[in-house]
Amino acid sequence: MSAVYVWIETFHGQPLSVSWEALGAGRLLADQFGVPLTALVFGENASAVAAEAAAHGANKALISDDATLKDFRLEAYAALLTKLVSENAPKAVVAGATSRGRELLAASAADSDSPLLGDVLSLSVDGGSVTAERAVYAGKVLSENAITGGTTMFVTVRSRAFKALAPDASASAEITTVAPALTESQLTTKVESFEESVGTVNLTDAAIIVSGGRGMANNPKDAPSGVTGDQASAWKAQDGFANVIKPLADVLGAAVGASRAAVDAGYIPYVHQVGQTGKTVAPDLYIACGISGAIQHQAGMRSSKIIVAINKDGESPIFKMARYGLVGDLYQIIPAITLEAKKRLGK
């Protein structure tokens, strides 16, 4: 029997929340096609994650926790997905448009010569024909795309574009264990080591983002003696990210973002970068601090629902995008906001 498959992405055995959104998108397709929604869970902890997927709307689950699937390795994962697709001819395969989701679905779509719509913002199904919207040219333009044939369509969904279904802890799914498609000796890659970065950020899932730019270097605090020039600027900005931006982000439950200027100057690691060559984000609230709002930065944050700009230069282009503008020194304004937010949010 046919189905709509949703790949439930995990990292170290923990599911990513975008996978529940992918199940939400999958539910739309499954109902339209009148087929069950099947979660695919590969790797460690698969049966526990499958139970969570059931709570998030999956009717069935295909799981495989073979040792070859412990780390995400494209060849192992794609071979299994492609095998399941060719054996069962699902109507669709859906996943979150994360780096692994995009890679896996693109690979398996290629293996099976199937159509792929990557990183979609919306899906509409009309009597069997599926169309989707995507953001192109750094979000400056939208494209409408259609699936015009093929047995199985592959779709990756952008974080926060689809709603997860309300979890129902009493729901259960029929779980089937499947064997991996390849053995260790058939795999050409080997993971030698992994070093987790400290303070990982999940910008794309965040409902609120507080970002800092080059303006972070204008910290009134003095750098330690002997630290001068660019080093002093970097010290001041790093101190500002840690002691001014981060406290506000913590009160608001927000993730910390940055402009490329801040990243390139070494104020903060690249994983925080928002923009054309960083992350594309669409939070409910984006607070830009000491960021001028260059077009490449806008490319990454223009779909934010509410933008707040804090900048000492009232002429900065960021104010053209903002719903609320605060002209002034971020080093005076942000601590005041943090204090006020603590009071008002009862923290």
Binding site: G118, G150, V271, T277
Partner: protein, 259 residues
């Protein structure tokens, strides 16, 4: 030994892009540039060809305007360039492009490494990379931030990959397809002599017949481009002392229900 880098032209990142009255995407008179992520791929292609004592070839799949990215690549110092184009590729999907890309790699022959940039900044979601690797049946290593070791004789490679969660070290066998991050190197600027040489280069165009490949059916298509819905242009300047500004802002954000 041979290294292949794929690239193409994209409108400059600062271009004002919009859909014109005939429904086409237009970037006015903004310049075309090499897809910015690909500069790292091109630099790495030059470095790896040198290290392996081989040649670096750059390939673009696309209409004539992508020839500009190839000229830039030659000016940077890649050895050879080719453009793949065929009427059948017009409006085709990534699957078709990847099929053509893999066939082009096979045509060059003796290739150990194919290098892509991280993604294209215009229409891309990086899918061409992975699909090309699968069409070749080669190892795929994405988000490579460092090549730690490579042995073209023993056909092994060891890389560091930059994942969302941290850094992963992977060993793999060659031939492989890799996509590279910006930390991997410092792309060089084209030299004056390089630019002169590139401007004189005649870049061959390979058709699908030249590649001896036929395309899978195109079942994913763009039906229309649209401008963004108009932005909410309401703007409120929040004034006062920092304390007053903070209070008013929190008032507003609570009213908007985003806190």
């Amino acid at each position: 030994m041979h290294v292949i880098v794929f690239t193409r032209s994209t409108p400059d990142t600062a271009a004002k892009v919009e859909v014109n009255s005939s429904g086409n995407v237009s970037w006015g008179d903004a310049a075309l540039v090499v897809n910015p992520w690909d500069e790292y791929a091109l630099e790495e292609g030059i470095l790896q060809a040198k290290a392996g004592g081989g040649k670096a070839t750059v390939i673009a799949i696309g209409a004539e305007l992508h020839g500009e990215a190839l000229k830039h690549s030659l000016a940077m110092g890649l050895d050879d360039a080719a453009r793949v184009w065929d009427a059948a590729l017009e409006n085709a999907d990534s699957l078709a492009y990847a099929t053509a890309a893999a066939a082009a790699v096979k045509k060059v022959g003796d290739v150990d490494l194919v290098i892509f940039g991280r993604e294209s900044i215009d229409v891309g979601t990086d899918q061409h990379i992975y699909q090309t690797a699968r069409k070749l049946g080669w190892t795929m290593l994405s988000y490579v931030s460092k090549i730690l070791a490579v042995d073209y004789a023993a056909k092994t490679i060891k890389v560091e990959r930059l994942l969302e969660e941290g850094k992963q070290v992977v060993t793999a066998t060659l031939p492989a397809v890799i996509s590279v991050m910006k930390d991997i190197n410092e792309p060089r600027y084209p030299s004056f002599i390089g630019i002169r040489k590139a401007s004189k280069a005649v870049i061959p165009v390979w058709s699908l017949a030249d590649l001896g490949v036929s395309l899978p059916p195109v079942n994913a298509q763009v039906t229309k481009f649209k401008n963004l819905p108009p932005r909410d242009t309401r703007f409120e300047l929040i004034e006062g002392t920092p304390e007053e500004q903070a209070k008013k802002l929190i008032d507003r954000l609570l009213e908007e229900k985003v806190l």
